[in-house]
């Protein structure tokens, strides 16, 4: 009995040690959660200097407006308002009952895309392979619409599409339309680049936040694509169509297109999103996502606010009324 008691005592002591050593959970109140939110962005967000944002003054402005007695909804709205100062579509506050977002990167600009016109007058009779909607336009020009990098296509699917286009006698080239593509997984972009690259090609360079200081970054790391010579390649001319709603992984894709001489970018500047999103959980169960890196083209151009097209073209309202996509028509003249 004494032995059992002795052993149980040891167990109890060990349990107590754990509770004494491990930090307590941070308070879930609005004030402490705000402190955690502000500090998380302060230590992790990558574009303060690029966007010339004084995050300390933002604290001075918003901290007095926060108190533990405010409702969750009011607290969420105030935090969302603060985060929108960053003007970054990769910054989101997720509260469960709502998610904050910044969409002015495309809402403040013309749409330059009308899906009805695409469906009725260009994609009529289309084929679909995975998420790739494709057809051959008049003038013997291939056309592919890819609506979201979040929807993956396989190598086999890409083989099927490229084999089909390669088999068309006298095909002048391919229009690859990524307008209104909100982004997703960059791996889908690399899958495409591997079929275009004829040698190892530098796409862009990225430096990552590696410390709490606003200028604490890693050395620049190069993103190099290698050709997939064991798969179906495409060596013809490509015109990529873009607009402001092309964001995040789509933005990275368009940035990578700049590395290939056979690709021309036509349309509007992309919406941006040049930082890799990263996340952290707040003490009150909410979580915040924010950009934690800076990517630039090989020439040093930072892609956070978008990639410029080679040929800027806007959708003409009279063309649109007539069911004509000005940007596609302009792209067709480049073949």
């Amino acid at each position: 009995m004494k032995k059992i008691f002795f052993l149980l005592t040891i167990a109890a002591v060990l349990l107590s040690c754990e509770k004494a050593i491990m930090p307590d959970s941070a308070s879930a109140g609005a004030e402490e959660t705000f402190e955690t939110l502000w500090q998380t962005i302060d230590r992790g967000y990558s574009f303060f200097e690029y966007k010339n944002i004084d995050w300390n003054s933002v604290y001075q402005t918003y901290r007095p407006q926060i108190n533990n007695n405010m409702s969750d909804r009011d607290f969420f709205n105030k935090c969302s308002e603060m985060l929108n100062i960053l003007k970054d579509g990769h910054v989101n506050l997720r509260a469960g009952f709502s998610t904050s977002y910044y969409n002015d990167f495309y809402l403040n600009f013309p749409a330059n895309f009308n899906k009805e016109i695409i469906d009725r007058n260009y994609l009529r009779g289309f084929q679909v392979t995975g998420p790739l909607y494709h057809t051959v336009l008049s003038g013997n020009i291939g056309y592919i619409y890819y609506g979201s990098f979040a929807t993956p296509f396989t190598d086999d699917q890409l083989d099927a599409v490229l084999t089909m286009f390669n088999s068309i006698a006298g095909l002048k080239g391919i229009i690859f339309d990524v307008r209104n593509n909100p982004g997703g997984d960059p791996a889908n972009a690399y899958r495409l680049f591997k079929r275009i690259a004829t040698q190892n090609t530098l796409l862009y360079k990225t430096k990552y936040k590696n410390g709490p200081g606003h200028n604490d970054f890693s050395a620049e790391q190069e993103s190099i694509i290698e050709p997939a010579t064991d798969k179906v390649m495409y060596t013809g001319k490509i015109v990529v169509l873009t607009n402001r709603k092309c964001y995040s992984a789509c933005n990275f894709f368009v940035a990578g297109c700049k590395a290939f001489s056979q690709i021309k970018i036509v349309g509007d500047q992309t919406g941006g999103g040049g930082g890799q999103p990263t996340g952290f959980e707040l003490p009150n169960s909410w979580s915040v996502n924010f950009s934690g890196s800076i990517t630039s083209l090989p020439n040093g151009f930072i892609i956070e606010n978008g990639v410029l097209p080679d040929i800027a073209v806007a959708l003409n309202p009279s063309d649109e009324a007539a069911g004509i996509d000005t940007i596609i028509e302009r792209a067709k003249t480049l073949f």
């Binding site: 349990l15 754990e18 590696n210 890799q276 169960s285």
Partner: protein, 271 residues
């Protein structure tokens, strides 16, 4: 998967252990070798600054498999203990579940020699313990930062105290063991738990070890204590009831505090 492991262990224990409950004196043969197969309940507490400033806790299952070689003067154990847990917080709710799924592997090799014998019934063993710990945590609410891991390959001293007691007319052994790593090779995620999705050659495993360092107890403090009660069965097989407390604090860019309470029952098959 968990249900399958539970059913497998239930069948194993029912069929084997039920045939073992015969009276036999404890063997005096000097060298005993055992296969160990066990099943346990794992209770984990965690505070990981790479995820949040909130304590997580949860339960899961913990199978174990090992090899034991023991004699009058030596004790050698090789043990693999995976545990699978789902951790939550007291602040979890339907809109924000706050879940972290952990897959934790511990591979231990312990070599002890008898250093003190007060009498036939009370013996102290001391030696060393090499331990490989890998704890992979997935917090989906963090999107690209959701994978957080603790890795440590450690060596350090270990000891155990064996007390032979008579119970149910059999000579059982109550054991208290302790190990504390002194030197460790550790790794935790990069700042902001980054995984380089932007890089076409994203190499998660390669990056894991490129971010590693060799540290002492100041950066990887860990203590593992074991309480067990071994009951002899037929044919030199044994049944072992155990309670293990394993606590570590690992510090790299940020700190993680993790504690596991493991209650287990193991069948030691003599071969």
């Amino acid at each position: 998967m968990k249900a399958f492991i539970l059913i497998l262990h239930a069948i194993f224990f029912t069929s084997i252990v039920s045939a073992q409950n015969l009276e036999l004196p404890r063997s005096k043969k000097t060298d005993n070798r055992y296969w160990l197969l066990g099943l346990g309940l794992s209770i984990q507490n965690m505070y990981d600054e790479g995820i949040s400033y909130v304590r997580y806790k949860g339960t899961g299952i913990a199978p174990s498999i090992g090899l034991i070689k023991s004699s009058e003067k030596k004790y050698c154990q090789f043990l693999l203990q995976p545990t699978f847990n789902k951790l939550t917080t007291e602040r979890s709710n339907e809109l924000r579940p706050m879940e972290v799924r952990t897959t934790r592997f511990v591979l231990d090799y312990q070599y002890l020699v008898r250093v003190k014998e007060w009498n036939e019934k009370l013996k102290l063993y001391a030696g060393g313990n090499a331990s490989l710990l890998f704890n992979l945590k997935r917090a989906e609410q963090l999107d690209n930062s959701q994978l957080v891991y603790d890795y440590a390959l450690s060596i350090g001293p270990a000891a155990k105290l064996d007390k032979t007691v008579k119970w149910n007319k059999r000579e059982c052994v109550a054991t208290f063991g302790l190990s504390i790593p002194l030197l460790s090779h550790i790794a935790r995620p990069y700042y902001l738990n980054r995984i380089e999705f932007i890089d076409p050659k994203n190499d998660f495993l390669g990056d894991l070890f490129s971010n590693s360092s060799v540290v002492t107890v100041n950066k990887n403090f860990r203590i593992t204590s074991d309480l067990s009660f071994t009951y002899p069965l037929f044919n030199k097989n044994e049944l072992k009831l155990g309670y293990t407390w394993d606590f570590y604090k690992m510090t790299t860019i940020n700190s993680v505090y993790a504690a596991e309470h493991l209650i287990s029952i193991s069948f030691l098959s003599n071969y």
